[in-house]
């Protein structure tokens, strides 16, 4: 049990090294010209000026040398300097924007957990009823609907038409709210992000519950005369919860991708809008740092899924490891 976790953790730096190498190699073989992107496509630049920038950025060294230097700085937590933000350290910019994104993702995950749990259990309890049908239809719709489109429509309905909720930002700049995050501003982005993630969780809960209900021990409990509600909540649900927890880890990538798009729609000043701005101004150091951090969270999510599965399910604990 502990051995598996340790082994997986030992592999982690190797995969991260692989991710960093892959990113570096792709940048190196791509025809992208960072100096041209920095000065702008139309601006003329002299050969001396070009050399000066190349020297300042260390572009005049050979590629393996650059790779080693870059990886060394990465290990020290130095993610380079952003070109878009006039040479500000990337790590500083990331830390500044991480807060709003964490709040957004955390809130929507909580919504997904609670909402998915309730909807999934009810759909399984009243199988083939109109409620079940509704939950399944909505879930299918949510899987296929592009997240940013759902966000745009929500923006129109609740912000433009009904004028209930603010359209953008984290706080009302006119009010005395300061620079914190206003709950009213959080509702739309968090709920739309939750909607895009809801379907997987709800359907998983519903289907696993129905599957578990066919197991022997549930049949045994039924034979003993236990009520329907107690059966569902006390016997079936704990076992259906195991994949539920691991799904958060597996869906980490989807959640990160969804937050970029949703933040863009609602002008939420987090990492998502930072990513978009960096992409639009071709700010490579910033983009690469965000990508590597994104990969880190995907890997950690998978690890978390694996470990939590083993911790929560004694059957795997005994046979595995």
């Amino acid at each position: 049990m502990l051995g598996v976790i340790v082994r997986r953790l030992a592999l982690l730096p190797l995969i991260l090294l692989g991710v960093a190498t892959l990113t570096f190699v792709i940048v190196a073989i791509s025809p992208f010209d960072p100096i041209r992107a920095y000065v702008g496509a139309e601006t003329p630049i002299s050969a001396e000026g070009r050399e000066e920038i190349a020297r300042a950025w260390g572009l005049d060294q050979s590629e393996p040398e650059r790779m080693i230097r870059w990886a060394g700085r990465l290990l020290q937590g130095d993610l380079g300097h952003s070109t878009m933000l006039e040479g500000r350290p990337v790590s500083e910019a990331l830390l500044e924007r991480a807060g709003p994104t964490l709040v957004l993702i955390g809130t929507s995950l909580a919504l997904v957990l609670v909402g998915g749990l309730i909807a999934g259990v009810l759909a399984a309890a009243f199988r083939d009823s109109w409620f079940d049908w509704l939950v399944r239809s909505v879930s299918h719709f949510n899987i296929a609907a592009p997240s940013f489109w759902v966000a745009l429509m929500a923006l129109y309905i609740f912000s433009v038409q009904l004028n209930w909720l603010p359209a953008a930002g984290t706080t009302d700049l006119r009010g005395e709210g300061g620079t914190g995050i206003d709950l009213k501003h959080l509702i739309l982005p968090a709920v739309t992000l939750a909607i895009t993630q809801q379907a997987w969780f709800t359907m998983y809960i519903r289907n696993t519950l129905l599957e578990v209900m066919r197991e022997d021990y549930v049949q045994y409990a039924t034979a003993q005369g236990i009520g329907r509600t107690a059966l569902l909540l006390r016997h079936a649900l704990p076992n259906a919860l195991i994949p539920f927890v691991t799904l958060i880890g597996v869906n980490m990538g989807e959640i990160i991708g969804g937050s970029i798009l949703i933040e863009t729609v609602f002008a939420w000043p987090g990492l998502g809008t930072l990513t978009r701005d960096a992409a639009l101004s071709a700010d490579l150091p910033l983009l690469i740092a965000i990508t590597i951090i994104g990969a880190f969270f995907v890997i950690m999510g998978n690890l978390f899924a694996d470990v939590s599965y083993r911790v929560l399910d004694p059957r795997i604990r005994e046979t595995g490891a």
Partner: protein, 299 residues
Amino acid sequence: MTAPTTTASTSGWRSRWRWAIPRRVPFAAGISGSLLVIILFIVATADIIRPIDTYTVDFAAALQSPSLSSPMGTDELGRDIMTRVFHGLRVSLFVSLMASVVALVLGGAIGLAAGALGGKVDSVLMRFLDVFASQNHLLFGIVLAVLFRPALGPMGAILLAVGLTHWTQMARIVRGELLSLRERQFVGAAINGGAGRWRLAWRHYLPHLLPAMGLGFVLLFPHAIFHESALSFLGVGLPPHQASLGNLLADSRSLILVGAWWAALFPGLMLLLTSLAIGTLGEYWRDRHNPRWRSELEL
């Protein structure tokens, strides 16, 4: 059975086309199939049914809500949104199709190599695949699009961005199928019969892999459509003047704030219906053909 002549003629028609018509088509698959036919018709005849130039500007007709002459309304420059949606759908479908082909070829080749050569090659390729698979699709796609945009142009960059982030699933499917194929008797017979490595791959492996690859391709397609439009929505996809579904949605944010809901509703609906139709048909095919694939193809 006192069958009148009319039913006899339909059964004659049925027997001739029996190979093409499954006995019972589920409701959802039937709807999706019809929807897909309509979408393909729109894409094929966009120039005829909505021949107005995509870039026609008419300020007198700016921001009109849906009407008979323009059923999806007009944008801030007075351009007909239905025209832009139909032409954008064509662009989006074409780009996603090509990106899926890139993923299919790349994933197919790597999966085939890993599965057929085995041993060291297999483990090296699989670690390579693991590294690729742990990249976030959207983030890595953005980086690729930014890197290759100046050299390959927006279209080439987006093909690469979507193709390079989606091939891993295909490679896993092909490798998995191949590993179970290698244990089959006819493969051993072919080897004993003196078939070389290339002949084995081409004549014996590939034909058996095609159904799984085809299905993987179909299930990949809706993902490619979503990622193409997401990249365009973020501004690193197709150029802004080109009507693609993602660009239309990107433009619609500012229009929505002035109350023009139609600018966002219709492009998004088209995107939703297209991916829903293709996805549903793909799942129907999977369940009909081989339910075992269900677990492997959960994209």
